[in-house]
Symmetry: C2
Subunit: 345 residues, 2 copies
């Protein structure tokens, strides 16, 4: 095991606050933007932070538990949507283009042969995670490999001077995995963590809750061993990859923007594994998926947007990144009272 360097100490946030207060505006009048600007100064260790390049990373994987009939969509949709991402036709492609954000799509475990699809990063660990109703979703080796896929994505971003990454996902069945993992991490009952996902009806919602309840019982012993063990037992390959990216990006000076329910639960797992990443984490939005609020509350996060999104793919992150880019620009570019000859209060 390599000795991981810690994330850089949060620097001069008092200096950043002073710099913000000298800008030509009443103190505090840019609200959340000022808080984010100070945090970005810490993450980038500079009083002139900037987010020129930003990237949403979409991790795709299938789920053994999808065999339990927990989704409104058939499992082959994961692969079909990966092809849609590669062609640039999905919501995340459109929103990223509209907001000057790059998209990287990674096959970390789709149950389809996508090797011939150009425009994807091919990093398949396995064709879908195992069905956690019967066995752990991943072996130790598979979990390590999926975490490494996320870590590598963060390193590629750093190499490309990307300063903010949004963490998105695609995987039929993954709200079931995320709900189970969230219950395991927080103790919240499946009634609170299991929601309608892509839109299941009442019967299937009840069934989905039963599946999660059984899975929590099956893995009860393993779940006493912390977040990594929970991620292995109940997660999915894309959830593990998201956790890997969230663990790695902060120490590279990259802001991490969690997207919706699945992304937030995976980020929560990462935070439990290494709490020191907290200052670099942003939470894009509060989604309409019911368990998302449970996850955000467990983290103590106030989401940046509240737009009733429930699509995933990183779509909320693509809408939130311009706010971070704006916050950085305020600190880096605004005039000061003295430089602009504006009278103070």
């Amino acid at each position: 095991m390599v000795c991981r360097p810690r994330i850089p100490p949060v620097p001069a946030s008092a200096d950043a606050q002073r710099a913000i207060d000298d800008k030509t505006k009443p103190p505090g009048s840019l609200g959340d933007l000022e808080l984010w600007a100070v945090r970005l100064a810490g993450i980038q260790d500079t009083l002139t932070p900037a987010i020129e390049r930003a990237r949403v990373i979409v991790f795709g994987a299938d789920h053994g538990v999808a065999a339990e009939n927990v989704s409104a969509y058939p499992p082959q949709v994961t692969g079909e949507m990966m092809r849609n991402f590669a062609r640039g036709g999905a919501a995340i492609n459109v929103l990223a283009r509209a907001n000057r954000i790059e998209v990287e799509v990674i096959d970390v475990g789709v149950d389809a042969d996508l090797t011939s699809v150009a425009g994807l990063v091919h990093a398949k660990v396995r064709r879908g995670s195992r069905n956690f109703l019967h066995e752990p979703a991943m072996t130790e080796t598979e979990l390590d490999a999926a975490l490494a896929v996320g870590r590598d994505a963060a390193r590629r971003a750093a190499h490309d001077d990307v300063r903010a990454i949004g963490l998105g996902e695609m995987g039929i069945g993954n709200t079931t995995a995320a709900a189970a993992l969230l219950s395991a991490l927080t103790g919240a009952p499946p009634a609170d963590t299991v929601g309608r996902g892509t839109g299941v009806d009442d019967d299937r919602l009840a069934h989905k809750r039963t599946v999660v309840t059984h899975a929590l019982a099956t893995h009860h012993d393993a779940l006493q061993n912390g977040a990594r063990a929970a991620l292995r037992a109940l997660g999915g390959l894309e959830l593990a990859a998201i956790a890997g990216a969230a663990l790695e990006a902060p120490r590279l000076g990259i802001a991490v923007v969690a997207d919706g329910f699945i992304s937030t639960v995976a980020t929560l797992a990462a935070l439990r594994i290494d709490p020191s990443i907290a200052p670099a984490l942003f939470f894009a939005h509060r989604s309409a998926e019911s368990g998302h609020a449970v996850a955000l509350d467990a983290i103590g996060a106030r989401p940046m947007l509240n737009l009733n999104l429930r699509l995933g793919e990183g779509t909320g992150a693509a809408l939130a990144i311009p706010l971070l880019r704006s916050a950085a620009a305020i600190l880096a570019e605004m005039a000061t009272f003295s430089s602009a000859s504006v009278s103070r209060a």
Copy 2:
């Protein structure tokens, strides 16, 4: 008086909804973005709406009532900030640049000689509105002229193929004018409409409420004559110009994004003058200024963002416009289930 054409009938919004539902995502999963996309289709009368060019228009003016010591900042700050806008150093300049939005700054009534300042639109009606504690803020002629400044700005935007305008303002004293106007338009007491503006202390807040209460009594008779009369009695030149822009832009197929407290109150006045503009109006955010919630509630508007902003200048609009641009792109650019060969639920 010219016969004003009505805004185009909201077209095919059922068609737009159908088009959205055929996109590769669970129905409704893009939340507010879908509602906005359908509205933009109506405003632009197309199933492929787009917001390439967008512009925040900052209307600057001074206020006679500033003589009553109602602001934390001295009145000369209005002119100083106009120079700051012209140099590109203010918050609105920075946020617009970060979000690919143009800025147009209009002197509609600043109490300073700005004729030598390049980069402003010089359309001064008067050096500041009159002190409405003693007389109407504007004469009929001045009100007409200020409304026309806003209308002309909307027409310039249309000429330049701008498809969304944000309505911003700068004017020391203008939260007092907006609070008085809001009380006049809604009947809400000054205790609810008068807030701290740029940051007055408790004593000055109480004084500001007294000033508004007296002004409402002084103009009691005039205020029986509708929104236009209220705007003339208690508004300001920049508030009237904002109302003029909000009245004109919708019939030119331009979406109107109101910014914070002052901009929202001016837009409310416009809406009372011509309710048919409603479908083209968007409300960028819920600001920290206490009266803003009163104004938004009077309109029945759900703001797009909630970031504790209270700066004005159009800063909230600059942050909200990317969301509208994104919504338009979803409708215009996303693949459909059939075009992308993705299975349905």
